[in-house]
């Protein structure tokens, strides 16, 4: 909508609505940040701001008692999510390219199967997977998590990327072939550079899915060998049996949010729309 066409009243309402949505979405986040700076005695005082700002909780998870639990979980999370994202994006790029470009029997089948896998409830396959993984020795290992993560990230990657590939004019590839490129060269030198924004978008989505997973993380791991952060948070303990580790969990939650924020900031420049502009006329 053109801003100038909005009357002042309408504009004000848009502002109010926008602020409401932002507060609704960000208030819990702000609350967690605030919690992470509170002292244990402050935790339940029902005030938004801490009476004393302290770094104790961060000390605790990064250098204190919870250090072993948290840092190994962080390492697992980063490693597993990155590997799962990488594999998923590479496989999905080839798959989506084939789906967008070639006409082969079973094309629809692949797409519908991918969709079916994506909407299949995770919880219903966790138990069989748990048994299978224990039998074949994948339980509590990195591959043991990477493989199920691929089942979550591949479908959405294939769908996003094939939609993206369809936007690229096919003439570009034909032009490259006439110019002397092999199919592979045309793909690598023309299609891939143009698909980069799509690949980055897909990579970020895949990374978030893997990064945020809890069900697989808690069910298919038992030690710090492979346990990712969301699962590890559940194993935090308070200073005594009767004390909830709320502050430490809040601090850990803030720490695991930071990579996500950094990733988005880093790559939002790469997610520019309209990169294909100028390739073809109208």
């Amino acid at each position: 909508m053109d801003e100038q066409q909005l009357s002042r009243g309408t504009k004000a309402w848009w502002w109010v609505a926008g602020v409401v949505v932002i507060v609704y979405a960000l208030f819990p986040v702000a609350w967690i940040v605030s919690l992470s700076f509170k002292t244990p005695s402050d935790l339940a005082n029902l005030q938004f701001l801490p009476t004393n700002w302290v770094w104790d909780n961060y000390d605790n998870i990064l250098a204190g008692d919870a250090q072993d639990l948290f840092l190994s979980a962080l390492r697992n999370s980063i490693g597993i999510s990155l590997i799962a994202t990488f594999i998923s994006v590479v496989l999905a790029t080839f798959c989506a390219y084939a789906i967008a470009r070639l006409d082969f029997p079973g094309k629809r089948l692949i797409l519908t199967t991918a969709l079916a896998v994506a909407i299949f409830p995770v919880i219903s396959i966790v138990t069989p997977l748990f048994n299978l993984w224990r039998n074949i020795g994948l339980y509590d290992t990195w591959p043991g998590l990477i493989i199920p993560y691929l089942s979550l990230t591949l479908p959405i990657s294939i769908w996003t990327l094939s939609a993206f590939f369809r936007q690229i004019p096919w003439e570009l590839e034909q032009a490259a072939q006439v110019d002397g490129a092999t199919t592979w060269q045309a793909f690598r030198k023309v299609i891939v550079p143009l698909a980069t924004p799509g690949v980055f978008t897909t990579a970020i989505i895949s990374f978030f899915i893997a990064w945020n997973d809890f069900v697989y993380g808690i069910s298919l791991t038992s030690t710090e060998a492979a346990r990712p952060v969301p699962a590890a948070l559940a194993f935090f303990t308070g200073a005594s049996q009767f004390e909830e580790p709320t502050g430490a969990i809040a601090a850990a939650a803030v720490v695991v949010t930071i990579p996500v924020v950094i990733l988005v900031l880093l790559f939002q420049r790469r997610i520019v729309s309209g990169l294909t502009q100028g390739a073809v006329k109208g």
Binding site: E171, Q174, A176, D179, A279, K281, G282
Partner: protein, 420 residues
């Protein structure tokens, strides 16, 4: 540079659609050949088969002395300009032009030399560092041409390269393409649906209709001696006028009077009842401005002009008339095939700019009978041209791409095959 030979080329798509039927064509080395026809006539398919982006169902395609049916596009060493240019948006103009050379692993120094030479030729020097998105339509078009000429390809293929430009730019680029081709002397196949481009650019023009070659000839031959109704209606703007006539002995009874064709134009009409007469707009004239020396070669008749368009250098007059229902249906069908729509049967007459014929009142018009064609309304054949060929007055056998016109045309253009 090489000759391109098509022999009985057919294209049948998976769904059974027969897009190109038995096309045979000899394109001589250095010749500029135009494939023209209304949309859906198979001209682009034919071009894409030559370049290798479309499989050939049957027939043989030779480039130079080599059969290339089974070769991939990259092994045919042809260069092509696409209708939408298909520039690589992530590369600069320089790298776009250099792309074919980079693929061929040409040394950097030579790449630079050749890109600069091409950009110089196309006046792209100041744009070399820009991205295609920042260029105007005409500049993008030139970049696409640069990418085509930078490589020493055996032939250039153009797929409606000017259809995305506005009218003025189209005229300029047309001249540029013509100049460039003459300068480089490279075999060129050019697809267009615009008959003006076809007439102005080509050494020879191939008119296609529903995948079948109608006529292969020089623009002049196409205009003056079209072999059938389709070619006659397609070539020329405004198009040729068609008038129904009943054959009565030697005479032709038309809505405008009873005419007798001169010997040079007559054909054997015995046994025919109805024919279609074809006359270009410029075969008509305001009877009052026709000089006495030529007046006897034509007929004068009365007609009511309802609209006049004055263009400065000439004027067009529109004369509606009644035609029999079956002829009207035949003409409407022809118009549909030519991508236009006939609202009424009318003559379009080009008059001298000085003529002061009034609108809406009867006027005396003159028709030069030496420039009238007789068509068979059923088959569409041009009986006049057939009769002329039979009498040996016409050298070129229409409809067949024999070696004779190819050689002729090559001699015309092959004079200065200089590479820049």
């Amino acid at each position: 540079m090489a000759a391109i030979t098509l022999k009985d080329i057919n294209k049948r798509y998976g769904d059974g659609f027969h897009a190109v039927k038995d096309v045979s064509l000899d394109i001589a080395d250095g010749e500029f050949v135009i494939l023209v026809g209304p949309s859906g006539c198979g001209k682009s398919t034919l071009l894409r088969m030559i370049v290798g982006l479309e499989d050939i169902t049957s027939g043989e395609l030779r480039i130079g002395d080599e059969r290339v049916n089974e070769k991939a596009p990259r092994d045919r060493n042809l260069s092509m300009v696409f209708q939408n240019y298909a520039l690589y948006p992530h590369l600069t103009v320089y790298e776009n032009i250099a792309f074919p050379l980079r693929l061929a692993k040409t040394p950097d120094k030579e790449v630079d030399e050749r890109v600069r030479r091409a950009s110089d030729l196309l006046e792209l020097d100041e744009h070399l560092d820009r991205k295609p998105a920042n260029l105007s339509g005409g500049q993008r078009q030139r970049v696409a041409m640069g990418r085509a000429i930078v490589r020493e390809a055996q032939a250039f293929l153009f797929d409606e390269p000017l259809s995305n430009l506005d009218a003025k730019l189209r005229g300029q680029m047309r001249t540029e393409i013509s100049r460039l081709q003459k300068r480089l002397g490279i075999t060129t196949v050019y697809v267009t649906h615009d008959q003006v481009e076809a007439m102005t650019l080509g050494d020879r023009v191939v008119v296609l209709r529903r995948g079948v070659v109608q006529q292969v000839d020089s623009p002049r031959e196409l205009y003056e001696n079209p072999v059938n109704l389709f070619v006659a209606g397609f070539i020329g703007s405004p198009p040729m006028n068609f008038i129904s006539a009943t054959v009565v002995g030697d005479q032709l009874h038309t809505p405008f009077g009873e005419w007798t064709l001169p010997a040079s134009r007559s054909a054997d009409l015995s046994g025919r009842e109805v024919v279609l007469l074809g006359a270009r707009p410029e075969a008509f004239e305001d009877a009052s401005v026709v000089s006495d020396t030529v007046r006897d070669h034509g007929v004068t008749f009365d007609a009511t002009i309802d609209v006049i368009e004055w263009l400065g250098n000439e004027q067009y007059a529109y004369v509606p008339y009644e035609a029999p229902e079956d002829i009207r249906a035949r003409l409407a069908e022809l118009e549909r095939e030519l991508d236009s729509e006939a609202l009424r049967t009318q003559l379009v007459v080009a008059l001298d700019a000085s003529s002061r014929v009034p609108e809406g009142r009867p006027a005396k018009l003159w028709l030069d009978l030496r420039r009238v064609h007789v068509f068979d309304p059923e088959s569409g054949d041009n009986l006049t041209v057939k009769a002329m060929s039979a009498r040996g007055e016409r050298v070129v056998d229409a409809g067949a791409a024999t070696a004779a016109p190819a050689g002729e045309a090559a001699a015309e253009t092959g004079e200065t095959p200089t590479v820049p």
